[in-house]
Symmetry: C2
Subunit: 196 residues, 2 copies
């Protein structure tokens, strides 16, 4: 079982301090609640049907959210790049089975905190509750952007929006995942790209 490196600690510290200022005591309280984990590429950090009982922190790498529709089609709903906290918020908040799978896109060293420890931290420290509020606000904003791309734009324009808003997606993510993120088939995305 590998240790939490100084580099990983620093990444967590920097990220948390974007939202709240932590003195040593508070940061050590937070850090003390996290455990280390090493994922394989393509490993599921959360499986659809199970209740989310952890929040992950990614100091590196990125993950994909996806689910399988009744007709068997796989839908990619989101990507998160490091650094950041990752979980199925809906499953975690409601403590109900998750709709989505969360999949590691690359092999990576990550941290996680258990749900019950997070809740205890919320009770214990006003500042951590604030961190929770600010993070919830951020995931809302990012979800709303994705939603607005559907309300405002045709598939072709959604693709243009995507490369404008998230240029790193194009470099790192297989196109058929991007297609379903955009709500279109891989064939359509291929045609859209070749009619510029």
């Amino acid at each position: 079982m590998k240790e939490i490196t100084a580099e990983i600690k620093k990444s967590l510290h920097t990220f948390v301090n974007r939202f709240i200022k932590t003195d040593d005591e508070l940061f050590n309280t937070i850090l003390g609640n996290f455990e280390y984990y090493n994922t394989a590429r393509k490993e599921l950090l959360l499986e659809a049907g199970k209740v989310a009982d952890k929040v992950f922190f990614l100091p590196e790498g990125f993950v994909r959210f996806f689910h399988i529709k009744e007709n068997g089609i796989e839908v990619t709903s989101d990507f998160y790049f490091a650094p950041g906290f990752i979980t199925s918020f809906t499953s975690l908040i409601e403590q109900k089975p998750s709709i989505v799978n969360i999949q590691a896109m690359v092999k990576m060293d990550i941290l996680f905190i258990k749900y019950k420890n997070l809740i205890a931290l919320y009770d214990q420290e006003h500042k951590i509750e604030r961190l929770g509020r600010l993070l919830a606000e951020q995931v809302f904003i990012s979800s709303e952007k994705h939603l607005f791309s559907f309300l405002n734009d045709l598939p072709q324009e959604r693709y243009e929006w995507l490369i404008r808003e998230y240029p790193e997606y194009i470099k790192n993510i297989p196109l058929h995942y991007l297609a379903s993120y955009l709500g279109i088939t891989p064939e359509s995305l291929s045609r859209i790209r070749n009619r510029t």
Copy 2:
């Protein structure tokens, strides 16, 4: 200038206590920060281009979120029914000009709290910070549902999802607003409804 009635106080109390338990002192602290306002039907509670500086509480009635695209087409992005807190979260959180307009759909008596007072309450009371976190989580969940309807379903299925998930929409909301909420034209919605 009309007063805040006992009925409105009760509505706020009941709603807040779904999320946090408030003793008299805490509830009076919250209530003391709200002011009364009476809207006309179709009045804009927030105009696109202005920074959101209030959060509204609706004890009754409902509102519509909409914006105008560059091509002049109006898009309805959301509806909120009473009871609940209403604002452009994105504009409020980032303190940037709002994309959306918020429009009263009926004449109603409402409350509002100013942004700076809300921030002060967050600092002052851990429990209110928690309320903020829980509300942010709820708006995320509701935005994600709307998003998933686009990722999972064709327009026809999205309409069926809407009447299943939000039957009250059909009874209260003009169809051309629902059409743009579903990302389709009024003509298409009309055809979808007439091919059951």
